[in-house]
Amino acid sequence: MPETTNFLILGLTVSLGTLGLYVFSLYWRFINVRRDRATLASLIEE
């Protein structure tokens, strides 16, 4: 049986890493929306 464990680890890292990056991008955009809303609300109040 060939030793291919390193490629398995690489594949899993890339898969879960890509998924994690996408989830983080969603989270980051939610943070930005919240910040934009607060800024806009304060501008409207002024």
Binding site: T4, L10, G11, L26, V33, A41
Partner: protein, 258 residues
């Protein structure tokens, strides 16, 4: 209260210049449960791939990538198919919520397609002795990813919302041809080296294997988790984000016109 209510949020924001999404606490609660299920499901797939499914005698441990490779393509296909139905629904009704659903499908599907391409490439290195080859299947998969990346870039370049939504709907419907093409190409082209694990492979396929019962079970669980839990969850979060971004746009426009 469900994703159906959630995707109504854009329309609610547009029609009432609403700041709040129409979906309330129950929808968010369901989404939170789905999110927990997604994490648990991914953990289960990881456990089954690493500990439950047997090790392939010819390929060794790298064969375990297969469960993520196939499941992510299945999930991407489900997301892209949703975009087709959402595109048709938008063209029939002209309601913005369908465009929001279509966009979520493309974004999640593209991310999963990138995982498919990357895991395939990593598997190919020890099995085919190369990271990439211009095999019909690999080429069609790359074209599919580029087509959907172009969707995201092109729609962001159209400022008029109605034109953007109409263009994106038509594009999303026709772009699905690349998904169908990618699926069938290994079944109609005899010169591919890409194996067809479910069904007969081409005679010159390299890297195929006989799937044992525990391997089949792992693939089944992985496909169900990706298609039925992970994709809907990520799409729902993306729709929520779109609703909130739309409400900000409406607030900005209302404040400028006042």
């Amino acid at each position: 209260m469900s994703i159906v209510n959630e995707i109504g949020g854009v329309d609610a924001a547009i029609s009432a210049s609403g700041v709040q999404s129409r979906s309330g606490g129950v929808g968010l609660r369901i989404l939170q449960v789905l999110t927990i299920l997604s994490v648990l499901g991914l953990g289960l797939v990881l456990y089954m791939a690493l500990a439950f499914a047997g090790t392939d005698a010819e390929q060794g441990n790298v064969q375990r990538i297969f469960y993520f490779h196939v499941a992510s393509f299945s999930g991407a296909a489900v997301a892209f198919l949703t975009t087709v139905f959402a595109g048709i629904a938008y063209l029939r009704t002209r309601r913005a919520k369908w465009d929001s659903l279509a966009l979520a499908g493309v974004e999640v599907g593209t991310m999963l397609s990138i995982i498919t391409l990357a895991t395939g490439s990593i598997w190919a290195r020890p099995i085919w002795n190369t990271w990439w080859t211009w095999d019909p299947r690999l080429t069609s998969a790359a074209i599919m990813v580029l087509t959907y990346l172009a969707y995201l870039m092109l729609r962001s370049g159209i400022e008029n919302p109605d034109k953007r939504r109409a263009f994106a709907s038509v594009y999303g419907i026709f772009a699905f041809a690349t998904v169908v093409f990618t699926f069938v190409i290994i079944r109609i082209r005899p010169d591919t080296i890409h194996p067809t694990v479910i069904g007969p492979s081409a005679t010159n396929a390299q890297g195929g294997f006989e799937m044992a019962a525990n391997m089949g079970a792992t693939l089944g669980v992985a496909s169900i988790v990706f298609c039925c839990v992970l994709v809907p969850t990520l799409m729902w979060w993306r729709i929520r984000l779109e609703n909130q971004q739309e409400s900000i746009r409406q607030m900005r426009e209302a404040s400028l016109s006042a």
